[in-house]
Amino acid sequence: MPLLSTIVWLPVIAAVVLAVFPRSAANAIKGTGLVVSLATFVISLGILPRFTDAPGFQLVELHPWIPQWGINYGLGVDGISLWLVLLTTLLTPVVLLAGWNSIKKHPKEYVISFLIMEAAMIGFFLATDLVLLYVFFELTLIPMYLVIGVWGGANRIYAAIKFFLFTMAGSLLMLLGIIYLGFSYVHQSPVGILSFAITDLYGVSLTPRVASLLFFAFSLAFAIKVPLFPLHTWLPDAHVEAPTGGSIILAGVMLKMGTYGFLRLVMPLFPDASHKYAHLLLTLSVIGIIYGALVAWVQPDMKKLVAYSSVSHLGFCVMGIFALTQTSIEGSILQMVNHGISTGALFLMVGVIYERRHTRLLADYGGLATAMPVYATLFVISMLSSVGLPGLNGFVGEFLILSGTFKTYPVYAVIAATGVILAAIYLLWLIQKVFYGPVTNEENTKVRDIAWNEIAAMVPLIIMMVWIGVYPNTFLKRMSPSVNELISVVKQEKQIHVMVTENGGGTLNREPSPRASGEKVAEGRMRGDASVNQQGGGR
């Protein structure tokens, strides 16, 4: 049986079956959902033994879907998507487990939404065809809209609609870009047929103007999803209003769809534009790192604090991607997984206490560690992993990103490094206020400690934090070949294009204008940097 299709469609089939379950059988519905998501996780682990450390898509499945337009149902996994898929399949059972007792309203629809969301997210990471990728990208919106809107907090409607409209606006422009790219391929391919296969489109050469426009169409879609600095406003709303499970999936996986999009599509499809606008994106991501951290610092609400910390952490991922070195990109991918695990754990923890005390305000807590020792321990571990304590996962990712970025863009790396310090400040601040100090509120002395299902949900996350922190090579060695390939794709096209423009420029304009020559110098510098990176990047 095709492995990748199985993990995409198993949750969907389960969701359809669950739809006919009677509404009253809440436990049977939750149980089935949990078993299916666990089964999906176990099956997805089956990718690992079959995965060879080679670049390019593996375990490829390719069937014509809409052959008239060259659209295929194509799934494949490579070093970039591998860990993100496993992260998704890991977090879904965690979410269902965490919500076991807290979801009392419409449990059937809740479980169905998460299963469909899981399938769509896995499909997005596995798709090798641009249209299929887009379909899965959009498909994640509907269940998340329902999850926020039905099971969310007081201001849930505003948050849900804002989330949907922001994402949809970006992605529709990307759809236009996708169609345009397909036609650009037709005009260049020797056979003259449409294709939306991602690897086919890597080779399409575009005029600088078109490439810039398409770059912005795609970047906008993914920058909203990440979210990058000025486009992040939907995120605090969505995170705060979403139920715990929704926040975990939103922060844990959905934001990574944005960074993954940059890595898989934006960089290799538009290498020139990516070079040209690298400073823009790097600047925005660095602003996001600092801004997110500063805003997190002053939040009175725990969930909002963690939400803004996501803006900061995702800034690191985007910075690492656009720094374009082997080290920084590997760091970014690892950091995507890390953030999913650590922030997922933090949201889970915040959800646990919210469920017991129905407040998330830091001011309402204090000295909780005495009443809930187990909970406090788990929370502190998650927090330290998010801060980037050596020995836990966050450190490895941030270190790789910063050291990789330092080689190409030292200034950005230095500024971003202060974000790490700020993270330590606001998260330690959170811990101090909530768990230590005198008990200010009598109610906090008799809070029930963490329950079995919540511990069960946390254990795998803690294991992963330690594993990645202590021995990241398990993960890095699988992604190295693909990252290497990606960098060479980006740079190779770049060089071909520079050659073409240099020749063209030579024949057309005898005397190149000062501006043009300036650009060429800049490009030359970038190329020089690139070769340095390749030497420095190989580990």
Partner: protein, 485 residues
């Protein structure tokens, strides 16, 4: 002498489905007259007639008939699918609605069948006069159907509005046709095509004729700025009729325009007629979507959303390539499924036709009536163009054909308009699933097996086309290629 001879003649078999529908309509009328107590059988009877007529298409060869004024080709068959689909779904939804309103009678189904004949004539007419005949036959049926709830003032008002505006629109079409005749010496589209092949389009008569025709057809399409009748009429008409009206006549008008535009293709680069059509399309998308946002009445909202959807379809009409024609054909079929489906749910929920059906009426429906809620949600997501629905692939087809024929700006405007539209479609879903119904509010919706079945057809159709559109694309693409040859 053999009395059956005419039936075996070529011309008779060419219009076999039309003949069946006409006679079938009379049978339905007579049935109601002679067996007034068996009204329950009227809907099944007209369904059977529709199915028989649809199947009779298989026995007809292609070609032109009646002296080159009537053409049967793959593309007319594709559009016939839309007409039959629309009529069947409407019949299924209507039975329960008419029964509740106490206005069930044979005339309703008969008029629906005859209206379908009118649309088939518009689709197959190769002569502007045949198209106008079809248009009139259709309009007569619509006038009566819109006012079918004759005891209700809103219904009568809608009927009068539609009649007055419709009469003007037909006048414009006739006047335009007359001017075309003056310029090209024929009303036959084939002859006109020969004229356009050699003309430079500089004759001012042609421009005036084109503008008049577009005004008349624009009215039937509810294309802005000829749209203001649509919200009032849809709101006042019996809800199943609104659904039918929002889909089928538009499809018939579009195929007539496809014929006309194709004939004009050689002359189009020399004149600015298509810029005019582009302006109408952009206006429709913007006005339709912007005004739909502030509507709280479901039928009015769907009316404005329909105006926007015609705008999308018109994007593909700007250039007559096979892909564009196929895109329009696919869009009309999907549009029939999703829009009649949406109106169907609204008609199921209506307590009393005189009352407006606002968004508040569907609050919490998603959990109280999961099946109806899901159906309406699927229709909304499809109208918004989200995967994995037919609305997504058909919109994709429209934008793809637009970009391929060089109308990237129009595609961009269409995309921007769709972004606006997502808001009000989502609001319906918000009311379905996230809003508690008002205190003491009860919706007594039962729905008969027909309406439940019609909803199932819509939903399965929408999802099936969204997930596996290849057969439909193959059929539409082949038909469009054959049409252009």
């Amino acid at each position: 002498m053999n009395v059956l001879a005419p039936l075996t003649a070529g011309w008779a078999s060419a219009i076999l489905p039309e003949i069946i529908l006409c006679i079938g309509g009379m049978i339905v009328l007579l049935w109601d007259a002679f067996a007034p107590r068996m009204k329950a059988l009227l809907a099944p009877l007209s369904l059977i007639i529709l199915i028989v007529a649809a199947n009779s298409e298989r026995f007809i060869g292609g070609g032109t008939f009646f002296g080159g004024t009537y053409e049967i080709s793959p593309i007319t068959r594709v559009f016939d699918i839309t007409f039959f689909l629309a009529a069947m779904l409407t019949t299924l939804f209507a039975r329960d609605f008419l029964d509740r309103e106490g206005i069930e009678s044979g005339e309703f189904y008969a008029l629906l069948l005859w209206g379908t004949v009118g649309m088939m004539m518009m689709a197959k007419g190769l002569d502007l006069l045949i198209i106008i005949l079809g248009l009139e036959m259709l309009s007569m049926c619509i006038f009566v159907l819109v006012g079918f709830a004759r005891k209700l003032p809103v219904s009568n008002e809608a009927s009068v509005k539609y009649f007055l505006m419709g009469a003007f629109a037909t006048g414009f079409v006739l006047y335009g046709t007359a001017l075309f005749y003056g310029a090209t010496q024929s009303t036959n589209i084939t002859v006109m095509a020969r004229y356009f092949a050699t003309s430079d389009g500089s004759n001012p008569l042609l421009t005036i004729a084109f503008v008049l025709l577009m005004a008349g057809f624009g009215f039937k399409l509810a294309l802005a700025p000829f749209h203001p009748w649509a919200p009032d009429v849809y709101q006042g008409a019996p809800t199943p009729v609104s659904g039918w009206l929002s889909v089928a006549p538009k499809a018939a008008t579009l195929i007539a325009l496809v014929r006309l535009f194709t004939a004009m293709t050689p002359v189009l680069p020399k004149v600015s007629w298509m810029q005019l059509v582009a302006v109408l399309s952009v206006l429709s998308m913007l006005i339709g979507n912007a005004v739909a946002i502030v509507q709280r009445d479901l039928k009015r909202m769907l009316a404005y959303s329909g105006i926007a959807h015609v705008g999308y379809m018109t994007i593909a009409m700007l250039t007559m390539r096979d892909e564009n024609i196929a895109a329009v054909a696919v869009y009309t079929i999907v549009y029939a499924l999703m829009n009649i489906g949406a109106f169907g749910v609204v008609s199921l929920l209506s307590k009393n036709q005189n009352d407006p059906q606002t968004l508040d009426d569907i609050a919490g429906l998603g959990f109280r009536r999961p099946y109806y809620g899901l159906a309406l949600a699927v229709c909304m997501f499809s109208l918004a163009g989200l995967p994995p629905t037919g609305g997504f692939v058909s919109k994709f087809y429209i934008f793809k054909s637009a970009i391929d024929s060089g109308h990237t700006t129009m595609a961009l405007l269409g995309i921007l308009a769709s972004i606006i539209s997502v808001y009000y479609y989502l609001r319906v879903v918000y009311f379905l699933y996230m809003k508690e119904p008002a205190e003491g509010f009860v919706v007594e919706t039962v729905g008969d097996v027909f309406s439940v079945g019609a909803l199932a057809i819509s939903m399965i159709g929408i999802l099936l086309i969204g997930i596996y559109p290849t057969p439909l694309f193959n059929m539409a693409g082949a038909a469009a290629r054959a049409f252009l040859q």
